[in-house]
Symmetry: C2
Amino acid sequence: MRSASGSRPVTLTAVAGIGTIRPGADLAEMIATGLGRAGLTVARGDVLVVCQKAVSKAEGRVVALAAVRPSDLARRIGERHDKDPRFIEVVLRETRRIVRMNDHVLVCETHHGFVCANAGVDSSNPLRRGTVTLLPVDPDRSAADLRAGLGRLLGVEPAVIVTDTFGRPFREGQVDVAIGVAGMRAWRSLSGGSDWTGRALHASAPADADMLAAAAGLVVRKEAGEPVVHVAGFRYARGPGRARDLVRAASMDLFR
Amino acid sequence: MRSASGSRPVTLTAVAGIGTIRPGADLAEMIATGLGRAGLTVARGDVLVVCQKAVSKAEGRVVALAAVRPSDLARRIGERHDKDPRFIEVVLRETRRIVRMNDHVLVCETHHGFVCANAGVDSSNPLRRGTVTLLPVDPDRSAADLRAGLGRLLGVEPAVIVTDTFGRPFREGQVDVAIGVAGMRAWRSLSGGSDWTGRALHASAPADADMLAAAAGLVVRKEAGEPVVHVAGFRYARGPGRARDLVRAASMDLFR
């Protein structure tokens, strides 16, 4: 589908009917089945965007709070924040550094380097009551594994992005960002190019993977069990890429 | 176009052939003409995403550096940053507060409350060599004016989002965000809802306007004179909305 002038649209479609994801599930196979049921064909150059929680559940990154023994620090923070100290304990285990902390929020740098609330530990839409999900140990690896698995099942390897929903400084509301990337560059450098006056473009580096994550956030319906979005028509930069390429080194960051 | 399971896709199409935008131009009319040429029909519920620079040029928010006399402060900063002190002077005029500053970057809070590099003053793709663009004085008003103008011309009022490309803390690369919104809520509150276990969702507030801005960033081609993106299929929350609703008050911000 092209418009009369030849601009090719980008289309984003939520993949329904993935089903309940349990630890050990073959997520690539569930996604392939869901795509088939939805009548969606994956072509070369397409992207599949997958919510973190689906990946975390399949990878068994699920913790039952009943089995967690909070440290003294977790107890003190839990009391101050009016939160379950066992939840705080899990957050602290996933944390490399506490970036900001007040009575309402704990902004953490995870072991991967992501900066987000509660180190990505999430108690909403759990697998079972009383459980929380953790971020995948290596979300870039998760994305690469999904890409390979889908390639075997579909005969074509889509780019894969694993997303999570992050708050951010300065702005209200949340937007999904990429925490895992496979099969495409996470960002594109426009440096070396120039604008129409011939002026060199320096700092221009569109964060494609984050734009795709945010775009997928428009159609994904996590709460309805639709954690996967099919994207067609976006011309990404091919080549190896990782979400970690989007992580600014703490030493280069004016806000840590 | 629906997939077999009934999921309605969101489609994003760059609008080609808008042409060169000069101060005083009727941007709504230029966009309507471009849409017609591209064979794109705007239906009720569609969104048009427009890059800031197109709006700024049409509104005459263009400054010739030759006419700027830098203050002593601008001279000192310019020297330290190895930048044109006249450029710095324009940045300082657009700034309410300098949030961070080092030898490479000046992160400013604009008079609107946006936090971004150089207070949104931009020297790339200028109208003429030696000019820079400023953010619109009131980008929410710009969006509302465009919406009204397009409504008159098209017979249907699309939601309108004015975007700019911002860097962000913690992460490399840039993503487009909403600086002006009309005809839809800038963010949606999921609070009051619950997940499948019945657990209340508290802080869940998808920043729809920012997600639309980022999604449009996938297809927009500013450098090719395609600063407008047509979005169909996204079910936004109707009602009055403003990009300023996305601005976190400095007193509530852990990073200012």
